[in-house]
């Protein structure tokens, strides 16, 4: 596990959210724009396709900073967001991301 991720886990404030969203070209702008203008800190963001071509998944790890409830409520207001889930075990997700990052780095 990288030092960066250990550090993130160490601060104990990382939460991972899984968003199910309408799949169209503007949806990422909506989600990212919300995070930046509401001053929510994003560490990792990952977008994956769903079996249903009308849907996508967005995985986001955020610094909670006592504001996770508020963040979730703001995301739920986006018309393109169908569901927001808080994933337990941020560590497992972050380790998965780290493995993926290393594999991609090897391919370069």
């Amino acid at each position: 596990m990288s030092a960066a991720i250990q550090k993130m886990e160490g601060c104990g404030e990382i939460a991972v959210l899984r968003l199910t969203v309408a799949n169209h070209p503007g949806v990422m702008s909506h989600v990212i724009g919300l995070f930046s203008r509401r001053r929510f800190n994003v560490d990792v963001i990952l977008c994956t396709p769903e079996r249903d071509p009308n849907l996508s998944r967005i995985w986001i790890s955020v610094h909670e900073c006592g504001r996770l409830d508020h963040i979730v409520r703001q995301i739920e207001k986006l018309a393109d967001v169908r569901e927001v889930r808080r994933l337990a075990g941020a560590g497992a997700f972050l380790r998965g991301v780290e493995r993926l990052r290393q594999e991609l780095a090897c391919g370069e």
Partner: protein
Amino acid sequence: MNSVCGRRRQPEDKMKITGADLIVALLERQGIEIIPGIPGGASLPLYDALAKSSKIRHVLARHEQGAGFMAQGMARATGKPQVCFATSGPGATNVVTAIADAKLDSIPLVCITGQVPTSLLGTDAFQEIDTYGLSIPITKHNYLVRKAEELLEVIPEAFSIAASGRPGPVLVDVPKDVQLEEIEIDEMPCPGCAAPPIEAPGEQMRAAAEMICGSRRPILYVGGGISASGAAADMLALAEKASIPIAPTLMGLDSVPSGHPLLLGMLGMHGARFTNHALAECDLLIAVGVRFDDRATGKAETFCPDARILHIDIDPSEIEKIKPASLGIASDAGAALRAILPMVSSGGREGWLARIAQLRAEFPLELPGVGDAGTAYGIIRRAGAILPPDAILTTDVGQHQMKVAQAFPFRQPRTWLTSGGLGTMGFGLPAAIGAALASPGRPVVCFSGDGSFLMNVQELATLAEEELDVKIVLLDNRSLGLVHQQQDLFYGGRFFAVHYPKPVDFAGVAECFGVPSTRLGEAADPADELGRALREPGPRLIHAPVDVCDKVFPMVPPGGANTNMLTGVGR
């Protein structure tokens, strides 16, 4: 929204229709009767389609921001989503301010913009701008329509989103080729309408009622959500039954009739001193349809320091955004108030009402010059005495706006249209035009200042053309008054970039546009002249010179606690 209305057509009678005709047909089905806008290259097909409509009248604005604010004026006066049109590029950027204004004040608006053809998207084509990207942060939702058939879903959905829950603006960007695309459709979709209001569970209502019953010094803090929910009568019923004083925000002023014994007047930065002191002493803050805006609360940590907070709002993300709530209820304001009403005990609280009366006597709202029609307060009060209760008021932004908020006798919901959240100078005139378009037969008065008025002065041409019953009362201090006031109070009196040394003949400007005018500064009896001018039918600009040294007091210094108010005494 996928349901289908009307007669199911047989396969052989499929209807051929272009995207532009489809938009107009869908807007007609939404009940839209007036659309302000300005055409341009990328919206030519849309305008060609609109020209054929017998149900929708187009009002040609002189600037897209004016068109946006006219639609807002219609929406604020009626509570229903209204539409404006703009073309691509500069048309879209011009309308952005009016959309952002609607977002911050939760006004239902559907803005339809033309866009360059899809084949040119992303090429920096003539009058191309990323309208979709530009409008994300200032809309409740937005669309870039890529195929004409999407319109069948997008247009009704746009209206549904604009009107549902906490209302807001929706933008629909339609490339020119999508407007021209001909498609075959079987039937028209149902018009989009507001989703049923959110209601909270009964146990939350019981808990709320218990909080109210258990409080000795409650205050109702009410805002734009009351109007949006049509809940003014429900709110007054609760206040009257349980003897709860009411402190409205700027956006909530027309929810409480002036002179109501429980009305404390506007709270916050320019609220009366007794109002802010009363809030500091309350033990329960019943916040309904409000968002704890910094202009209302002052420094949030010092706002109602001893109070438990009961926060009712239709938007769950507003609860606990600024202040922790003892009980947060995500609900339509009217639904919650009606559910709570039968569970609260009536009367009582004589001690609290006596304390309020004492504070009111000790720290009254002072309106210097209110008896003199040569001052802003005097003109506002005089207008209030002359105008009928259903007259609609709009303002621009600045000292005149705050003075109207302090001094005008509001009497009915949806008669007070002001730019609260965004604070947009230039709002008043086009919003008044919109209100007059939507409310024939009712007088509309726009209070403005010389700084604000010039920001959408071009709409005088639209006003003259439409011959609407709109009176503009222009309080002219030849300055940006509220900035002048802050430079004086907080920047050592170092006045910079706030004076207009060369006078503008505003009455002459209006006359040139074809709008008659009245010069109160030259009248032998300004009070009398004001009355005559307001009673004249049709549009009119009433010019009134006022003194820039007449500040708005009290004033909470920005970032300060509401109980530390500056007053005009000794200045």
